[in-house]
């Protein structure tokens, strides 16, 4: 999401580089939900998910000097930190990637919370996402939320490596259209 309310992304980055806790508070208010979305997609345990979120923001704060705006958007950097931390935490606790993110396209599209209800809807996911084809959503979820490698995605979905690339591209093109 674009930072429009109070800071431009450049201003926010500058403030954070100057260790402004006010800017950090703003960062949290605007990004914690999106980052938490990544975490809870992988972590079942609510308390553990909270710990991971807190830890992710602590890492962001402590390592902010290593963020390089010329190498990508701020959120991209933050979501990579969060995703890697989440996966590392689960791994250290003996979880397997597959536990929550299914490799099966259909099961991802019918992602449920165990009550048969679509978890996306349960979480209030925007209806705009309906335009995303199930196989597109599957591939994005596996990559963006699951931290799967291309090869793993290819193996799990039975889709050739080259197709993973093109499918990824069309899925993201769709995302770029959907929300602004």
């Amino acid at each position: 999401m674009a930072v429009t309310e109070k800071y431009t992304e450049e201003e926010l980055v500058l403030q954070l580089q100057n260790r402004s806790q006010q800017a950090f508070s703003y960062l949290y208010d605007n990004y914690a939900g999106a980052l938490n979305g990544v975490i809870v997609r992988l972590v079942d345990d609510a308390a553990l998910a909270e710990d991971v979120l807190q830890e992710a923001f602590l890492k962001i704060w402590n390592n902010f000097s290593s963020y390089d705006a010329s190498k990508g958007r701020l959120f991209t950097w933050m979501v990579n930190i969060t995703r890697n931390l989440t996966i590392d935490t689960l791994r250290s606790k003996g979880y397997k990637k597959q536990q929550k993110i299914s490799a099966d396209e259909n099961s991802v599209s019918n992602y449920t919370d165990g009550t048969g209800k679509d978890k996306f809807d349960a979480l209030g996911i925007k209806n705009q996402l309906v335009n995303l084809k199930p196989e597109q959503r599957s591939i994005i979820d596996m990559a963006y939320f699951g931290g799967f490698t291309q090869e793993e995605i290819s193996k799990q979905t039975g889709v050739p490596l080259g197709t993973v690339k093109t499918r990824m591209r069309t899925a993201i093109l769709e995302l770029r259209k959907l929300i602004t």
Binding site: M1, A2, Q21, F24, S25, Y28, D29, A32, G33, A34, L35, N36, G37, V38, I39, V40, E50, V52, L53, Q54, E55, F57, L58, W61, N62, K71, G72, R73, F75, T76, V79, N80, R83, S92, F120, L123, I125, K126, L129, I140, A143, Y144, F145, G147, F148, T149, Q150, I153, V164, K165, T166, M168, R169, A171, I172, L173, L175, R176, L178, I179
Partner: protein
């Protein structure tokens, strides 16, 4: 690949989703720096994914933010990983330092004790030495006091060297009270090898043996020494005799008459 081919390759999407291989990542980073269109496209892709994440946002638990800010405002604010590795390291270092400190203290204390012990030993030795010196001085003082008494109370008779040995001088202190005779032999030359001084009292014109005089014992000069006691005598004499002495004097070297009291 031209810019359009790069954009449509799907590699930028893999890169943005953080699932590019290392080789692909390096390639994309070069392209991004090389072509502004690639950079713009990447930015748009990232924004698309960002929007997807926002659409899937899940509001965090209310207390997480407070805990987070409490944590970053803690003085030490260490990076506490969930596996608590840094905390362990910090704790371990603490023990290490504590152990090192106590070992240093122990060594310091041992050294201090050792040096104290040495000082006490030194002091004790010095005290013993001082006591011995004091005893020696006391003995010397007693002897000197004795000599002074002799000089004060005794009748002094000066013996003069005879022509064959003019420097054979000695002083006799004759205690009038008890008849003790003391010889101060310090002015007598050392007796020649194989010879010894012998003391005589002349009583009624006859020399009476009064004992051997020791002038030098292992390099130490003898001062006052007690001879035999005489009730009466006209004169005193010292002769040189063979070692062990003779019953009668053979070579008188020093003579002094007793002056009338």
């Amino acid at each position: 690949m031209n810019v359009q081919e790069i954009i449509s390759s799907g590699l930028l999407e893999l890169y943005a989703a953080d699932i590019a291989t290392d080789a692909e990542r390096q390639q994309v980073e070069i392209w991004r720096q090389q072509y502004p269109e690639v950079a713009a496209e990447l930015s748009a892709i990232e924004l698309g994914l960002e929007n997807y994440a926002t659409a899937n946002a899940v509001p965090p638990a209310a207390n997480v933010k407070d805990k987070l800010f409490a944590q970053i405002n803690t003085a030490a604010a260490p990076v506490v990983n969930i596996n608590t590795q840094p905390a362990k390291v910090v704790a371990f270092n603490g023990w290490k330092w504590a152990a090192a400190a106590s070992i240093a203290l122990l060594i310091g204390s041992a050294f201090f004790n050792y040096s104290l012990y040495n000082k006490v030993e030194n002091a004790t030795a010095k005290l013993t030495e001082a006591e011995q010196q004091l005893n020696v001085a006391k003995l010397e003082a007693d002897a000197m006091k004795n000599d002074i008494e002799v000089v004060k109370q005794g009748l002094q008779v000066s013996l003069k060297g005879q022509p064959q040995m003019p420097d054979a001088k000695a002083k006799i202190y004759w205690m009038t009270g008890n008849g003790d005779v003391m010889v101060d032999a310090s002015n007598l030359p050392d007796a020649p090898a194989g010879k010894q001084y012998q003391f005589w009292a002349i009583v009624d014109g006859v020399p009476v043996e009064g004992g051997l005089i020791i002038t030098n014992d292992k390099g130490k000069k003898f001062r006052m020494q007690k001879m035999k006691s005489f009730g009466r005598a006209e004169a005193f004499a010292i002769s040189l005799e063979k070692e062990g002495g003779n019953p009668t004097p053979t070579e008188v070297v020093s003579v002094g008459a007793v002056t009338k009291i």
